[in-house]
Point group: C2
Chain length 454, copies 2
């Protein structure tokens, strides 16, 4: 029998969990400082809650759970594994409408399951990391989400990212101005979403293949290029670039029903100027975001040479699906799995994360000394150190070798000589140095060397 | 359509998550300081990994997942939801045997799923919280686990718990001495495990009903009482009580094959004396623990009037199930769900956990002021405060009322007057006090009042 985890899933060994925890802790800490509160929902939902919510393709990718007990013989499914964090949120908003605050801001970091064909970087069990703010149509909502995401990426150590913003109705307006019929907007947006990867020619080919007249696509792409391209005289600040692009959008859409959307985007960009994200945010008229449920502003984190690390936007018609009425909502989903992959490739984790899970290993000399060694371990732990005790009486060299193989930083040795002098021998496995210190000072001695003052 | 979570599962709203996180953080922190490292496994396993591992009853309670895509029509299951954390650990130990350290100590805190009939306090999705130490038969292993659990319960604020220890082979010896046949040991232990609830008479009745001659059960129970009862002269310390019980055990088992087990238990009790758990540990010959897979020491956390909050023991024949050879192992499972229930009932959570997820709410006066208010929010967040911004321009009274309803501690008001003076009005919603402070000092002003020096 295979002992591998099921296809498309992963076992997370300690080293990997330390990396994941490091990222999740920063994400949660920032979201909490932005007033988001945690929510968790069950791993499975009643099957009717999920079926029909993700389109035909989605339905096929849902993991379904067989009825149990006397009903198992029916071979029917009554439950299904969580497929995303948005439908459960919509259910929660309906179920607890009298308990939740008027403006409900939640973050949710939980696994979801999709029966996709496993591939490099594509899993059947993976974590989503969503924030959503429900109940307000104010631009403050988008701006706070942009500011939070900016702070997360900055704290994680990303230096080369941009926060792109656009507006779903601006896209609709530009499609209309290009002469593309409303029935073909979805097709055009799906193609436009791939502009980065397939270029102008690719978008034109895909649109043509799906029945959009070539000159309309060309007109759209040229218009987008005109808006995107800002004439540089001297240096162009982020603010000047955005002002120019918003003016171009005004020019193209002034006489249409979509002028208001430009106003909404301008309000967001202006407010962002009052936050630490000011220099990161760029109006990008080409940003499409695949999902058809967006109704207002859309946003995305772009990293040079990497692509998107997450995105989101306003979607005012979705979260009320179980309430039977529209509820204003805006959300952002960070690509947690992708962020961890990129940070690993770029060695962005601090040394403390790589160092391993144990700061000090206490060696065991003899069975008689074990009690004293456990007391020493307790003393070291009281100082906050992560301490392992080698469980068996074994040759010292073997114990030290074992500690080194586990990436332990220090070994504490309490031999007969040390004990007679009231000392502990402390070996720094990172440098090989060994030094005897008074036992009472050993915890602080090690703690200081682990976290030297900056 | 119902918007409730599926039967036996729960949505965790922010307040509940804060309580759970508080407990989990202490558990993890202590286990890490004891050298345990985190492990996570997928929510589902290949169905063959789980079937047959939990007995006939267990098999029925496993949630099974239908095959997908072209195989869905077969109505067969190929995956099953995690049922406990021990079988996945055994799989991991086999799969990564060349990567894992010789002494692998892991903690794992993840949900498991069992299709039990839902009832008060019994869920179909619940968290397990396990530590296991694999690879050593040394008593140091048991002692370190006992010390860690003692530290966790102490840190959580439990003052009235005892850590009971016994040894599976001591029980076997006492059963043998009582004349109960080996084939009936399992039955007797299952009954004995309920001694607390059903008393001597109940155990005797259950054993009799299952074919054990009454005088044998009576003899067992009397022997257990004799061992348990320590003649008190003056004050009896924990150490004296345990010494007396171990001596009684020696007397009953000296001439049997089980004398060694008393020696093992004595070694554990003696070593515990060198740890902070010394005064908490009591030899209890009546402790049976239901699970038949224990092979050595067994242990349990007992709280007066509450019962067990967790338990564990040594089980040397289980973790190697996928390896094809025995591997020494010892584990402890904390009853996380039970601990949270008890702590909630006893109001054991600190005020910071009850206070809510937002420290300060910034009010919004007017659309023009929004930029400045976002800057103020950024200043407050930089000091580590959890800050929410009321998203819309609304009447101040309404905003303050909203903040109060959300259990927010402070409201920051930046009206025209305050702005002109470079100040912020800070209202403490806990006391009703309002005070204007220089804007630059506002973050520290609030932070100090939230966490006053002791």
């Amino acid at each position: 029998m295979s002992t591998k985890p099921p296809g498309g899933t992963r076992d997370f060994l300690p080293e990997e969990i330390r990396r994941r925890e490091y990222v999740v802790r920063i994400v949660r800490d920032v979201y909490e400082r932005y007033g988001f509160e945690p929510l968790e929902t069950p791993a499975f939902e009643n099957i009717g809650t999920l079926l029909g919510k993700y389109g035909d393709e989605g339905n096929k990718l849902i993991f379904k759970i067989l009825k149990r007990g006397e009903y198992e013989a029916s071979r029917e499914a009554d439950l299904a594994l969580r497929y995303d964090l948005t439908v459960p949120l919509a259910r929660v908003v309906a179920q607890y409408q009298n308990e939740l605050p008027k403006f409900f801001k939640r973050y949710q970091i939980q696994p979801v399951w999709r029966a996709d064909r496993p591939a490099r970087g594509r899993f059947r069990e993976f974590y989503q990391c969503d924030i959503d703010a429900i109940g307000s149509a104010s631009a403050v909502v988008e701006v706070e989400q942009i500011a939070a995401v900016n702070e997360i990426l900055t704290k994680l150590g990303f230096a080369d990212f941009r926060l792109l913003v656009n507006h779903r109705r601006i896209l609709t307006g530009l499609l209309e101005v290009s002469g593309i019929a409303a029935a073909q907007h979805e097709t055009a947006l799906v193609a436009l979403d791939k502009l980065d990867k397939i270029g102008h020619k690719g978008v034109e080919a895909e649109c043509a293949a799906r029945g959009i007249e070539p000159q309309k696509t060309t007109s759209l792409l040229e218009m987008l290029r005109d808006i995107f391209t800002v004439p540089l005289d001297g240096e162009s600040s982020t603010g000047l670039i955005n002002t120019s692009r918003l003016e171009s959008l005004d020019n193209f859409l002034a006489s249409t029903a979509y002028a208001g959307a430009v106003g909404e985007l301008r309000a967001i960009v202006r407010l962002v100027g009052s936050t630490p994200a000011a220099e990161r945010v760029f109006v990008d008229p080409r940003l499409a975001r695949g999902l058809s449920y967006y109704t207002g502003a859309i946003m995305e984190v772009a990293v040079d040479g990497i692509g998107s690390l997450g995105g989101g936007g306003r979607y005012d018609n979705l979260i009320g699906m179980f309430l039977g009425r529209d509820v204003p909502a805006c959300g952002f989903s960070l690509g947690l799995e992708r962020i961890i992959v990129v940070m690993t490739e770029r060695s962005m984790f601090p040394a403390t994360v790589a160092r391993g899970g144990v700061d000090v290993m206490v060696t065991i000399w003899s069975d008689e000394a074990r009690g004293d060694l456990l007391t020493l371990a307790a003393e070291l732990r009281r100082a906050g150190l992560r301490v392992d005790v080698y469980p068996e009486s074994d040759k010292l060299g073997k114990q030290v070798k074992y500690a080194a193989s586990r990436n332990v930083s220090f070994v504490a040795i309490l031999g007969d000589d040390e004990r007679a002098r009231g000392e502990v021998a402390v070996k720094d496995l990172r440098t090989g140095d060994q030094q005897s210190v008074p036992r009472a000072e050993a915890p602080q001695f090690i703690a200081r060397r682990l976290n030297p003052e900056p």
